[in-house]
Amino acid sequence: MNNERFQVITPNHTNYRNLVRGLTKEIWPEFMLHDAVANELWHELLDRFAEYQLALYDIQNNRVAAMGNSFPLRWDEPLENLPEGGWDWAFLKAVRNHKQGVVPNIHCAIQIIVRPDYQGLGLSALAIEAVRSVTKSRGFQLLIIPIRPSEKHKYPLTSLDDYINWKTEKGLPFDAWLRVHLRVGAKIIKVCHESKTIRGTRAEWGKWTEMRFPQNGQYIIDGALNPMEMNIEKDEGVYIEPNVWIMHEVG
């Protein structure tokens, strides 16, 4: 891969918003786009934390190939105490800290994605490196991330606590995305079991998944890391996504 081909761009780039538009939708299963916290706060990334957003721009094809989204927040306790709330918690916390003028002391990434037609080129490591550069340039020591293990969805009945201990024959993490992070020096802190909570009516889940939910029970959803629980009487399906808190020591 020719690294000259991919340049880091930020929202300062005049066309940034257009270039990254729709990228998230290409990556995630539809139901993942219905996390209430994400939908309420997404605009804050550009309103409050623009200098923490970046993309890898393919200068040969004038397209964005990867994106990294992050923000700073304040965390004074040991990393082992990071909450179960993971992704949703971090987003709310960063926005609250910023509103209250609290000085941040840690960098948190919430999304590092590579466009499907650019996968397999090693861009994920390049995107992680770009996010780590932000950690450094902003003067932070630590980058934390509630990451979504990329292959857990094939093992929805296995607890994530067990899954993160699975190894390849070479002793590396079984999960490809965990492996990419650990190769560049990240460490696993622990699982956050309620990183995202996605709620929808039966009709909404039907639309998101093209499945039917005629009765109460647990359902296996394509792309979900755990089963989803449908409650017909309440007309509500709830999916609680577990992630893994990892940390990169950068400074």
Partner: protein, 253 residues
């Protein structure tokens, strides 16, 4: 669609019938489904003992086989509501035993209707069900039963089959497409058979069959399986128990 280009053929009609039928099976089923030990031990008996109960649909324009149907006769004197949980595996063994013991059969069981993926959604399934019934009719049987695999159950592996078969669509027909084909052809659901097939393999075999890994004892969701598979790492054995649904078609009034 011109269904007339499809002609019902039997093993005696084509010298390479078994190879061609085998290709349809391989194209139709997930790999792990090819490892039911009863099926693998006894498949040849379909041709050795029950050849006239096997058939295919030949596309006469291309000379390709588009679908195959397999069935066998057996003896059943109880009420059909008493058909056993063992479903598919049971009926295959029973038919062979009856034949060996020269017991006169009085009922037909279908054990497979497979349509090559290239020929699906062309209305061939109903044609296959019809051809299956005609065999039973020619033998003078009153009933055609079948331990049927509800195809779309694989998307709902955590729902019990007892519940699943009661799901209906807006027209009041079964939710499951394959159960619906049978229902439209007049079949009635008898009951689930919870242990219709038992597929056992070592961890290495399951990994080869599925492209997955099974690092710990646990339940696993297998693409194409109707229920989770249970892996026991200490015993080096994964067991998948497939539930099916006993259906009955009344052949004669």
């Amino acid at each position: 669609m011109t269904p007339d280009r499809f002609q019902v053929i039997h093993p005696k009609d084509l010298i390479d019938y078994r190879d061609r039928a085998g290709d349809i099976g391989e194209a139709s089923w997930p790999e792990f489904m090819m490892h039911d030990s009863i099926a693998n031990e006894h498949w040849h008996e379909l041709f050795d003992r029950f050849s006239e109960y096997q058939f295919g649909l030949l596309n006469t324009e291309t000379n390709r086989m588009a679908a195959m149907g397999n069935s066998l006769p057996f003896r059943w004197d109880d009420d059909i509501s008493a058909l056993p949980e063992g479903g598919w595996d049971w009926v295959f063994v029973k038919a062979i035993e009856d034949h060996k013991n020269k017991v006169t059969p009085n009922i037909q069981s279908a054990i497979q209707i497979a349509i090559h993926p290239d020929y699906q959604s062309q209305g061939l399934s109903i044609r296959m069900v019809q051809a299956m019934r005609e065999i039973g009719q020619s033998k003078g049987f009153k009933y055609l039963v079948a331990p049927v695999r509800p195809n779309q159950k694989s998307k709902y592996p955590l729902i019990s089959i007892d519940d699943y078969i009661q799901w209906t669509n807006d027209e009041g027909l079964p939710f499951d497409a394959w159960l619906r084909v049978h229902a439209r052809a007049g079949a009635k659901i008898i009951k689930p058979c919870h242990e219709a097939m038992i597929i056992r393999g070592t961890r290495a075999e399951w990994e080869r069959w599925t492209g997955m890994k099974f690092p710990q004892s646990d339940m696993y969701i297998i693409p194409g399986a109707l229920n989770p598979m249970q892996m026991n790492v200490e015993k080096d054995e994964g067991v998948y128990i497939e539930p099916n649904v006993w259906l009955v078609h009344q052949i004669e009034e």
